[in-house]
Symmetry: C2
């Protein structure tokens, strides 16, 4: 087996070119490119992404962001936690354990983790020891949050939110 490792990705033109191969390329990447072009960030500065290179090719990546306890609505007690997003392995490099390597790396910080998986990846997250968070409309909207908790951490107790609180009301007659 080829020796690969997880590494922190640096913001530079090569990284941003590599990112174009990933399906979840979006505003974040475009904004990083703009920041680099406008010299708002230095070349080779640290990015919020971690990845795995196979030779010279970036073949897997994820982004990690640390949210502070004051914004925590997922864990009990409220605490600093990681948001993991854009976990993706390029099609030709799947089933080699690269996704697991990235997730294990995220777990190594020993903070609880929240992610919003792509559709159809729930089995993967369960295999990684994540569980589906109790759904809360106001907090989650269209998300399907999955969470991972180190020992001693529990899921936040949800307030009994089961009302239609902020759902848009309009006279149904108008739609006729």
């Amino acid at each position: 087996m080829v020796d690969v490792k997880v590494e922190r990705l640096l913001v530079n033109y090569k990284t941003l070119e590599d990112f174009k191969r990933f399906q979840a390329y979006g505003n974040q990447e475009l904004s990083m490119l703009e920041d680099l072009q406008n010299e708002i960030v230095e070349n080779d500065s640290k990015s919020p992404f971690y990845g795995i290179y196979f030779g010279n090719n970036l073949v897997a990546r994820m982004s990690l962001y640390e949210r502070s306890a004051q914004y925590d609505h997922y864990f009990n007690p409220p605490q600093d936690y990681l948001v993991l997003f854009k976990l993706e392995v390029l099609p030709d490099y799947r089933n080699r354990g690269y996704g697991k390597m990235l997730v294990d790396y995220a777990k190594s910080f020993q903070l609880p983790i929240k992610t919003n998986p792509f559709i159809n990846s729930h089995d993967f997250w369960e295999k990684m020891g994540f569980e589906m968070a109790s759904y809360n409309l106001e907090r989650d909207l269209g998300e399907n949050p999955f969470i991972w908790m180190p020992k001693g951490v529990k899921e936040a107790v949800q307030p009994p939110h089961r009302t239609l609180g902020n759902i848009v009301e309009q006279e149904d007659e108008e739609t006729k």
Copy 2:
């Protein structure tokens, strides 16, 4: 052309069965089903979803949620706004303007709208008069927010956030 209209969807077993045909079926739908089974919500109560029926079949849907001004980080001045999510037209019913009918319905509330489009649907949102919001890592993480503003509303001025603030730091040596 068959006469179709946008209507508020009711929470009942038929609706929840209809939802299974949509790709974005997830925690939200499972939670609604559980609430119905446990009689936490009444049968035929209003749901946060709007949809279009073709005959007896639900062929398009979206969810709308109103967030109050105190949580607004998208618009200027901060104000109540709608979050639109899970807009989806079943494959056999595309290119008939149903997506636009749903979006027009959302616009009819005359509140600004924020959505996080599926990958590869940016062209659609631009055609609908939405624009890509300026990306802010802390606010948006893996999202690609698109926004629509009624007359007189502007995009929020973003604080100069372009730092690596809360990005996870770890000694790079550990990864060797």
